[in-house]
């Protein structure tokens, strides 16, 4: 690889370079700021948090000045999709930094912030990958810092259990994914994504039986990221054991990478993209449709049973993964509402509402880590009216009711699935609507608990002040309402990404 081609490649991933540079600084200097016995001066976390925000700001500035260009030859590309994903991820990454701020301890905050930035860079690299190797590297750059982040902030038994579970299952799924990608390379003879996509569209499965195994394995590996049933098992256990900001992160970031990678490999999944009659995608679309239906139903049905808010939101996150799969399957249709754009819009909306929900649980806590059980919500409407109102906004959005982003997001997904012209997606649209109705039950029940039940006497302490979490919440409220009131800009960006 010549000097010139490296330079072009780096030019395309400047925002990520900024993030990775900051990560290096944090990892290298972090240990030196600790005392001899490993103690940090109080308040050190504020400095690391500020540095992380600064890095995200710089990356965002760089991102804003990139112009999307069409596909090129090289390991990276900077097209509409990566532009939109970067925007969403940087905005919500800043929110995550704020949410993590006071949940980190001064000693480990350098490493934790570094891991956060690294995984944001990983998401962006996945979106910028033009090659299955960079794609996989991007995915792993998300996974590995996630393990660290799960382990570093808390050392309690539930957290350790959660970490181990996530670690093992994530490794397992990565193994399936890398096996699938290797077979894909074997079947097509190239690692470049655009070439693979073209080949897959035209190739009949009978010609290259390797794809028979490659495609399901890739779907399984990525299915873990998007918490598709039955690859979702880790979610409730892990969400329950980890701090709120990590649960927020896990509900959103893996979905972004998973769907980005699936979208890049759209030739594997989209029936409409197939040119050959029995191209691999015609079969995989059926497999994914089954996954989508299972994911929506099991996610929502299991959420009905939960009394722990983290578990409830974990299953809700599973269900939302199912909704987005519907968008993916409707993608590439001939209608005026591209499913891919609906999916991207939903990702942005979902990011604001799910992260916002965890943030407000964090910000409104009375003692300990965050509000974790439904019982603790009782009477929140009178004891903390603002927090109750804000949580209601997020719950409305998750349930898909106006005037929130969730409504418009589900509406777009429904329109896309209904009008895509791809066979079978109309059924998915109907099932999506049914599931939205089921989900309303457990979201709205929480609002009922907050406003109609009287508070428990033991939880009457004054809330702990957590300014960064409140700022993060405010950003999420603005996003949730803003995407409903002035959605056009984001919708245009999503459209641009899918062209």
């Amino acid at each position: 690889m010549s000097h010139e081609s490296i330079r072009t490649a780096v030019q395309l991933i400047l925002p990520e370079c900024i993030l990775i540079g900051t990560v290096c600084v944090m990892f290298l200097t972090g240990p030196f700021l600790l005392g001899r016995n490993g103690q940090a001066s109080p308040g050190l976390r504020h400095r690391w948090g500020a540095l992380a925000l600064l890095a995200i700001g710089a990356a965002a500035w760089q991102w804003w000045h990139t112009t999307p260009v069409a596909a090129i030859d090289g390991p990276f590309l900077s097209d509409g999709l990566s532009f939109t994903i970067r925007g969403i991820v940087l905005a919500l990454g800043a929110v995550l930094v704020l949410a993590a701020w006071n949940q980190l301890d001064d000693r480990t905050s350098a490493e934790c912030n570094a891991c956060l930035l690294a995984l944001l860079a990983g998401v962006n690299l996945t979106a910028a990958a033009n090659d299955i190797i960079t794609l996989f590297l991007g995915l792993e750059l998300v996974s590995i810092p996630t393990y660290l982040l799960l382990y570093l902030p808390t050392r309690s038994r539930p957290a350790q259990e959660a970490t181990i579970k996530y670690f093992l299952l994530s490794l397992f799924s990565s193994a399936m994914l890398v096996y699938g990608l290797a077979l894909l390379y074997g079947a097509t003879g190239t690692t470049m994504l655009p070439e693979i996509v073209e080949l897959l569209k035209a190739t009949s499965l009978t010609e290259s039986p390797l794809l028979l195994i490659a495609a399901p394995l890739i779907a399984a590996g990525l299915g873990f990221r998007i918490t598709a049933v039955p690859f979702h098992f880790y979610a409730p256990d892990v969400f329950q054991g980890v701090p709120a900001f990590m649960a927020a992160l896990l509900s959103f970031i893996p979905k972004v990478v998973g769907f980005t990678a699936l979208w890049r490999l759209t030739a594997l999944t989209s029936r409409a993209a197939a040119e050959s009659a029995d191209a691999v995608s015609t079969y995989m679309a059926s497999v994914l449709a089954v996954l989508a239906v299972l994911t929506m139903f099991i996610g929502n049905l299991m959420a009905l049973r939960q009394s722990n808010l983290h578990r409830l939101l974990a299953y809700s996150s599973v269900a939302h993964g199912g909704y987005m799969l519907v968008g993916l399957l409707a993608g590439g249709g001939s209608s005026g509402v591209p499913g891919g754009a609906a999916l991207l819009f939903y990702l942005a909306a979902y990011g604001f509402m799910t992260i916002g929900a965890f943030c407000i649980l964090l910000a409104a806590r009375r003692s300990g880590d965050s509000i974790r059980t439904i019982d603790e919500l009782a009477g929140l409407g009178s004891s903390q009216p603002l927090a109750a109102l804000v949580l209601s906004v997020f719950l409305f959005s998750l349930a898909g009711l106006p005037p929130t982003a969730g409504f418009l997001g589900k509406f777009n997904l429904f329109l896309a699935a209904w009008s895509s012209g791809v066979s079978g997606t109309r059924w998915l649209a109907v099932i999506l609507a049914m599931n939205a109705a089921i989900s309303a039950w457990y979201y709205l029940r929480l609002i009922g608990v907050m406003y109609l039940q009287s508070p428990q006497p033991s939880t009457a302490d004054a809330p702990t002040r957590n300014l960064p979490a409140w700022i993060a919440t405010a950003v999420c409220v603005a996003g949730t309402l803003g995407l409903f009131l002035v959605p056009q800009a984001v919708w245009d960006a999503a459209l641009l990404a899918t062209q």
Binding site: S173, P216, A220, V287, L301, L304, S335, V337, S419, P487
Partner: protein, 659 residues
């Protein structure tokens, strides 16, 4: 004025009251408290200023270009997804700007009055938040550029009305009245919704600029091919108007709505919201001219309402209820005029102008009368029964003379505003009597209108004489010294009184200002109306006879009133008991519905609830199986994942094999 300034003005008209409403709702209870009225005043005053600027600035330019076109259409593009394009359009033409100026002007005066009237009420901020929200909704209602927007804000004003009727929600009668208003209005809303569906099916659009634009040939083809549908649309639209404008038999909610604070009665249930129905029918004139049957229905229902309400008002002792029935009756007058457009194409514009002009003048004098009643009520310690006080004219001189001005305008004393507008209505009815295909029908309606006008003069002055004349008498609730209204209440009264006296003279038929301005509305054309001297004499005679009768009965020899009461017997009872409409509706409509509801409840309890509970239990049952898998053992999780991946491979292989 440049276009951008105009756009800013148009956004400010609804925007300022909305901002005020939000700010008061957020900060009212904790921060603003007793100062909440300032924000409300500021918001409405801004809207009023902008409305006046709009009134003076935009139309002349619009006139020059195309007299029938709206002055401004501006839109906020909410979202465009595929073929779905949702816009929020504001649209202003002559009719809109007149309505806007009237609505915001009266609202401002009522809000000023309200700050005195509502003083010391614990819900003070809530009152002003709701009033601001109402002004916003009402402005949006008249600025709407499509039926959809109109419907949204039609519901929004209904909501504000509900909130304000039930303002004192701890009082059972207020809560019941609010509920009644809401439920009765739903019947009208059903009509409006049906009309919208039909319009969408017929025209393929809900935009005024398309549905009401009679200029294009395509439009005329649609109309020609769907004459029956157009009639149906117009009837459905009128059903919507009947609900909101309290027309017989949906008028029962309006008198009960007087449970709300009196400024609210003045603003919403006299001057503005209840005229929305008249506005809707006037706005849809281009459709109504193609549906003469609907126009006859409009006129007939208007006449029936006017007469029945006037007869009911005769024997009411509650001052506010007299005014409420009078409002219903006057709205009936407006609908009569709108229906009179059936006389022929050249009579459309005068008829609609007459209705709109009466709407305009009525807003001032009826708001004045309500505020005057409010002032009386305030001073009498919330007693409103006219039998318990009298002779207030010396104690409350300002209230007295302003009330007299309003009463004279309502009775149609020349040259006050009500005289001119009522005269216009009689003129268009007489045109229907002498021209067109339905002469006999309109002759009857004309007679009803004349009779109603006499009754109006009578009951108005009956209320006036009973309240302000006779021996001085105060109820014990008023305390030792009943007081005149404070300046903050007196000034709006005086301004409204001046307007009620002079507005007809300034813009009425003598100068043609109103009619030549309003002519620049879709469906209307420029006409050159003339004065109807004969009718004017008749009107004067009507007013004089009604007032004289009231004077004889209630001032000169009160014994006569008693005698008349005894002699009329049955009729008196009917009027006193509001023709038993509440009772009739209760037996005919409410009771069967109750029984149906009881049946539904038992059906719901046993069948539906059973089914729902079963379905609700089903997810739990269904989730038992996956719940067992979620046991927390990592090995199992990995095994399931592996099995799933294998299943996917097997599926693909066998699907391929089947081919």
């Amino acid at each position: 004025m440049s276009e951008s300034v105009q756009q800013l003005l148009m956004w400010l008209i609804p925007g300022a009251p909305l901002t005020a409403a939000i700010l008061i709702a957020l900060f009212g209870p904790k921060v603003l408290r007793g100062q909440s009225h300032w924000l409300c005043w500021l918001g409405i005053a801004t809207a009023f200023g902008c409305s006046l600027a709009l009134l003076t600035s935009i139309t002349p330019e619009g006139f020059a270009v195309d007299p029938s076109q709206p002055a401004v259409v501006i839109g906020y593009e909410w979202i465009k997804v595929g073929s779905l394009d949702i816009r929020i359009d504001l649209r202003a033409d002559a009719m809109t700007s007149i309505m806007l100026s009237m609505v915001t002007g009266v609202s401002l005066l009522v809000a000023i009055f309200g700050s005195g009237y509502m003083h010391h009420d614990p819900g003070y901020p809530r009152f002003f938040a709701a009033v601001s929200l109402f002004v916003f909704s009402m402005c949006m209602l008249v600025l709407a550029g499509s039926f959809l927007m109109l419907f949204v804000f039609w519901e929004a004003v209904g909501l504000c009305s509900y909130l304000l009727i039930g303002f004192w929600f701890r009082k059972p009668s207020a809560a019941a009245a609010a509920k009644k208003a809401f439920v009765v209005n739903r019947i009208g809303d059903f009509g409006l919704l049906m009309a919208m569906f039909l319009i969408w099916r017929t025209f393929g659009s809900l935009d005024f600029d398309w549905v009401l634009n009679s200029g294009s040939t395509e439009w005329q083809m649609i109309i020609g091919a769907n004459r029956e549908t157009i009639t149906l649309i117009c009837l459905c639209l009128f059903l919507g108007a009947m609900g909101k404008s309290a027309q017989f038999p949906l008028h029962v909610w309006l008198p009960d709505a007087m449970e709300g604070p009196t400024p609210v009665s003045a603003l919403i249930h006299a001057a503005t919201m209840v005229t929305a129905g008249v506005y809707l029918v006037a706005r849809c004139t281009p459709l109504f001219v193609w549906a003469p049957t609907a126009q006859l229905v409009v006129a007939g229902v208007g006449a029936a309402t006017a007469l029945i309400a006037a007869l009911t008002a005769l024997m009411q002792y509650d001052l506010k209820r007299v005014m409420a029935y009078s409002t219903v009756s006057q709205l009936g007058f407006m609908f009569m005029a709108l229906g009179a457009a059936a006389a022929g194409p050249e009579y459309v514009t005068p008829a609609v102008t007459a209705a709109m002009f009466h709407l305009f003048t009525h807003a001032f004098f009826k708001a004045l009368l309500f505020l005057g009643s409010g002032s009386v009520m305030h001073s009498m310690g919330d007693v409103i029964d006219m039998r318990r006080f009298s002779g207030l004219r010396r104690v409350m001189p300002t209230t007295h003379w302003t009330f007299l001005a309003g009463a004279a305008a309502l009775a149609g004393v020349p040259p006050l505003s009500g005289f001119f507008s009522k005269d216009d209505i009689l003129a268009s009815l007489s045109a229907g009597m002498t021209h067109g295909d339905h002469r006999l029908y309109f002759a009857i309606i004309f007679l009803v209108a004349v009779l109603t006008a006499v009754l109006t003069a009578f009951y108005t002055f009956r209320a006036y004489f009973m309240t302000f004349w006779g021996p001085e008498k105060f109820p014990e609730e008023a305390g030792a010294h009943p007081h005149e209204a404070s300046p903050v209440m007196a000034i709006p009264l005086q301004i409204l009184a001046l307007l009620a006296i002079s507005i007809g003279f300034i813009v009425g038929p003598l100068t043609h200002r109103f009619s030549s301005y309003l002519a620049h509305t879709m469906g209307l054309s420029e006409t050159h109306p003339h004065l109807h001297w004969g009718l004017m004499l008749l009107s004067t005679a009507i007013a004089a006879s009604g007032i004289y009768a009231a004077f004889v009965m209630y001032v000169r020899s009160p014994a006569k009133a008693e005698e008349a009461r005894l002699r009329s017997g049955r009729l008196y009872d009917l009027s006193q008991n509001k023709f038993y409409f509440d009772e009739i509706l209760t037996t005919l409509v409410v009771a069967p519905l109750r029984r149906l509801a009881a049946l539904s409840v038992s059906f719901d309890r046993t069948v539906i609830d059973g089914a729902v509970d079963a379905v609700g239990r089903l997810p739990r049952l269904l989730s038992q199986a996956p719940a067992r898998l979620h046991g927390g053992v990592v090995g199992n999780y990995a095994l399931v994942m592996l099995l799933a991946a294998t299943a996917a491979v097997v599926f693909v292989v066998q699907a391929l094999g089947r081919q």
